[in-house]
């Protein structure tokens, strides 16, 4: 078993606090994987945007160099879960059911952004579209679609 994972409900408490303060970075900071690949809340406007700053540890193709496709997927999946946390009523971490990811361009070794669109949120399942880009939002490097199970509290 993992040793010191954060104490149970520490995350839920942080989620509640973030609802009050609007400081969602505090939640991101509690997710070890988000910290590992460097995800940060970039903009909390009408469309929350996340940033993953350039990081040589995220490279998957050292020849180009390009970001590992799995890391781009990781950024997009995590962004979708965070987006749901920010916009839905429940504070439980949504569970991913499935994920379909289309790579459009190589992810260069530079800052990468992601934002989401919730197309449908039912009582149990949410459908979320995610776009990732680097220099121009109109020229995404990847687009994805994910279903999440909304965990009942």
């Amino acid at each position: 078993m993992p040793n010191e994972v954060t104490s149970p409900n520490k995350y839920k408490q942080a989620a509640l606090a973030a609802r009050e303060s609007g400081d969602y970075q505090a939640i991101v900071d509690l997710i070890p994987y988000a910290g590992l690949i460097g995800i940060k809340v970039y903009d909390m406007g009408i469309h929350p945007t996340f940033i993953m700053p350039a990081n040589k540890d995220n490279i998957g193709n050292p020849m180009l160099p390009a970001i590992h496709g799995g890391v781009i997927g990781g950024l997009m999946e995590t962004s979708a879960a965070l987006h749901l946390l920010m916009t839905m009523d429940s504070i439980a971490m949504p569970k991913i059911i499935d994920f379909s990811l289309d790579y459009l361009r190589a992810g260069r070794h530079t800052d990468t952004y992601a934002s989401c669109q919730v197309w449908r949120q039912g009582s149990r399942v949410a459908n979320v579209a995610i776009t990732a880009w680097q220099t121009d939002p109109a020229q995404p490097i990847a687009v994805a679609r994910a279903h999440f199970l909304l965990v009942q509290e």
Partner: protein, 166 residues
Amino acid sequence: MNDNWTEQARRFVSVLPHCRLLDMSVELASATELHMRLPYSDALIGNPDNGVLAGGCLTTLMDTSCGTAVFVALECNEVCPTLDLRVDYMRSATPGKDIIAVARVIRITASVVFTRCDLYEDTTAAEADVAKLEDDSDKAPKLVATCTAAFMRIGQHLDRSKANAK
């Protein structure tokens, strides 16, 4: 021959910085299958309340396993970028367990290579024996996720002169 495939796969993965960060390793590679291991690590947790691994590191494991299977399956060591990836998550991985990926190349065409990959929780040899003896499917390796991925052949070669010399 088998060792040669595994050796090739290991060399390919060993130069990928993010795979080194995750400590991913090739267990074996053959003409039909490639097995990789992702060790459980607290740094890869996606849900801090229960210690379950983030989907992202599993996506990375599947993308790498399929991509490496493609690399060793093609002659001349072509590097093929991922065109798309579709993942179904069957169950949350048990916290503390390593994840084993089993990737297969399904079909190679002139432009595209089709692959599949399954992720299992690692089962120790002892656990596997008990499951077999007792014929207990609950104790068999648990399927965590499945994936299908397609790769583009763009004709980019690694070390072409060396590959041709073989």
